[in-house]
């Protein structure tokens, strides 16, 4: 289900590096998937093959529903969604101005701090966006 | 257990071999004992597209069950019992068991007088045609602009635009189809024969067709393509009833609260279109739906409301 070549070998290679750096420098990150808006895994981190594909599909559905809710509520753009539980956090964040549109899903455990997680993820998304523009 | 005889004509070599070995396998599992015989002695004929025309023609004049075997992308014959080659032993078993139910009830007596009633002659001739092996010929009925032509494989018919729309709305009285060497005029439209068969049944006389049994229970083998022949609400309701279980016409009138005429016409149309099968009464249809619909009663008002909103009334 991985659709790497469609998204460019060089850019996906760089995206993978950014994802690695993000995970190494951010406490509590368990796994992450970068996915196209229509639910294909582009690159992933520490998730089994099937798991990444499933996470990509679910993440893109949530992201699409999030955008629809934001539009309905008149707040134009949904930048990120946070799913919180006692044992961990899932963040789904849109990669800004990316072509094709894509999102990053991050799963973190209870060692993470939400503020730090969001800030690092945002930085990672910005770097990924640059990689796909170049 | 009864022994029944079955003959096979017009099967391709591989289908013929497969058929004989399947018969051996299914004996002991089927509700009758099936042996192969010559067509003259058989209770059932299995006819494929590879020859055997004369046997099939003779067979068509009897009221004995016919299993039409068709292949590849050919259209499904408009007869109640069909098998698509290559078929599996379980499919053969299912068809033979269905036929045994009918055979066990004895011959349909009503069918004999069918041809004499002129109101039924067109429908009857179309029905007989659908039981014959196709030879690539045309059959025709009527004259002038009201003439229609039918391909003997019951794939398409040809008629003037005006005649096509008359067929859809009511039944022009047509005589029996006869073999013709003529070709239809170029201006005639080509339409699916399923449509002709359906409307010939639906707009025929408002009594049960002579070849149907007024006391038998029937169910739908498959739904008619209501995308092609637009169904009324009443017809959708009858089709839905016959999807879940087999019902006699009396029971259908009761359940649907429709007139006996409407029910008979619907059964005739389904029979003409080859989607109706006779079975023992109130046997649940194969794989009958068992979804829990305890909420359906509560939903009654909602269904009415939705129909009103969508303009689906009546």
């Amino acid at each position: 289900m991985s659709a790497g070549p469609r998204f460019g070998r060089v850019a996906t290679g760089m995206a993978q590096k950014h994802l690695d750096t993000f995970a190494q420098t951010t406490p509590g990150v368990v796994s992450a998937v970068l996915m196209s808006a229509d639910g294909f895994e582009i690159v992933s981190l520490q998730v089994g093959k099937g798991g990444a594909a499933r996470l990509a599909a679910m993440g893109s559905s949530l992201s699409a529903i999030g955008s629809a809710i934001a539009k309905e509520a008149g707040i134009v753009e949904c930048n990120r969604m946070v799913i919180e539980s006692d044992s961990g956090t899932v963040v789904i964040m849109n990669v800004p101005e990316s072509r094709p549109p894509m999102s990053l899903a991050v799963i973190a455990n209870d060692n993470s701090m939400l503020g730090q997680l969001l800030w690092s993820a945002k930085t990672c998304c910005a770097a990924i966006a640059r990689a796909f523009r170049e | 257990m009864r022994t029944r005889k079955i003959a096979a004509v017009g099967l391709a070599d591989d289908a013929g071999h497969a058929f004989s070995s399947m018969l051996k396998v299914l004996n002991g599992h089927a509700s009758a004992n099936w042996t192969v015989s010559a067509p003259e002695e058989a209770d059932v004929l299995m006819a494929g597209p590879h020859g055997g025309d004369s046997e099939a023609q003779r067979w068509a004049r009897t009221e004995k069950p016919l299993i039409a075997v068709y292949e590849g992308s050919a259209l499904r014959p408009l007869t109640p019992y069909t098998l698509h080659h290559p078929f599996r032993v379980m499919q053969l078993l299912a068809v033979l068991d269905e036929i045994e139910l009918v055979l066990a009830k004895g011959p349909a007596e009503a069918a004999r007088g069918a041809a004499v009633d002129p109101d039924w002659s067109f429908a009857e001739s179309l029905r007989l045609l659908s039981r014959c092996t196709a030879r690539g010929e045309l059959h025709a009925a009527g004259s002038g602009p009201a003439r229609i032509y039918v391909r003997d494989d019951i794939s398409v018919y040809y008629a003037s635009r005006e005649m096509c729309s008359r067929l859809r709305s009511h039944a022009p009285l047509l005589p029996a189809l006869r073999l013709t060497a003529e070709q239809p005029p170029a201006a005639f439209e080509t339409r699916p024969a399923f449509e002709l068969a359906w409307f010939a049944g639906l707009h025929g006389p408002a009594t049960l067709a002579p070849w149907l049994d007024a006391h038998a229970a029937y169910r739908l083998r498959r739904w008619p393509d209501f995308g092609m022949v637009r169904a009324t609400r009443a017809q959708l309701a009858l089709a839905a009833l016959l999807t879940h279980a087999a019902h006699t016409r009396t029971r259908l009138v009761q359940l649907s609260q429709q007139s006996a005429d409407a029910v008979d016409r619907f059964l005739n149309a389904c029979a003409m279109a080859g989607v109706l099968v006779g079975t023992s009464e109130n046997t649940p249809a194969a794989e009958a739906s068992t979804f829990i619909a305890s909420s359906a009663a509560r939903l009654g008002g909602l269904i009415r409301g939705l129909r009103n909103r969508l303009g689906l009334a009546g």
């Binding site: - | 209501f226 739906s289 979804f291 009663a297 509560r298 939903l299």
Partner: protein
């Protein structure tokens, strides 16, 4: 009390689910279209990643909700979420897609083959060159021992969408045990 009543439109990408819902919804449906990056599977610009949502208001308290699922198998989890407790399911297929029969099997199975809730199947683009005949779909169902309503339709025509919905309603009525034992 408002009733739970939803109808699901499902089927592969490009079969017309979004179009069908738009044809009968009171207001423009909510859609979650995203850029389609898999143009090899189906050549169209946008595809549904989340759901389509339309609504038909019956009266002040009651309405029928119409949900469209994403078509691709990777969104199967959405089929289950949306299909839960559905009053009926409309499966739309495209006869010109080479794997249409495999799609038929997959969707019919995923939505309980008509046993959990009534199910009707609309097949589009039957007349396109190289398209499968409607009979091939009917034969496939018959081989599985299933008898489900199966019609050739064009969901750009409102009357065709209405036919599918009305058939669902008829099946729902028939499944009403009170009526059957009346």
């Amino acid at each position: 009390m408002s009733e739970e009543f939803k109808i699901i439109f499902s089927g592969p990408m490009g079969a017309g689910k979004t179009t069908a819902i738009a044809a009968i919804s009171d207001e423009a449906p909510v859609s979650t279209d995203v850029v389609n990056t898999d143009r090899a599977a189906f050549d169209k610009e946008l595809t549904t990643a989340g759901l389509d949502y339309g609504r038909i208001e019956i009266d002040a308290e009651t309405s029928v909700r119409l949900y469209g699922t994403p078509g691709q198998l990777r969104f199967r989890f959405m089929w289950d979420i949306l299909g839960h407790n559905a009053a009926g399911v409309v499966i739309l297929l495209d006869a010109s897609q080479a794997d249409a029969l495999v799609q038929l099997d997959a969707f019919v199975e995923a939505f309980g083959a008509g046993k959990r809730a009534p199910l009707v199947i609309g097949v589009g683009r039957c007349a396109e060159p190289g398209a499968l005949a409607l009979d091939a779909f009917a034969q496939r169902l018959e081989n599985h021992g299933l008898n489900l309503p199966l019609f050739g339709v064009d969901v750009r025509r409102r009357e065709d969408v209405l036919l599918l919905v009305d058939t669902l309603l008829c099946l729902l009525e028939v499944s009403d045990p009170a009526r059957l034992h009346a």
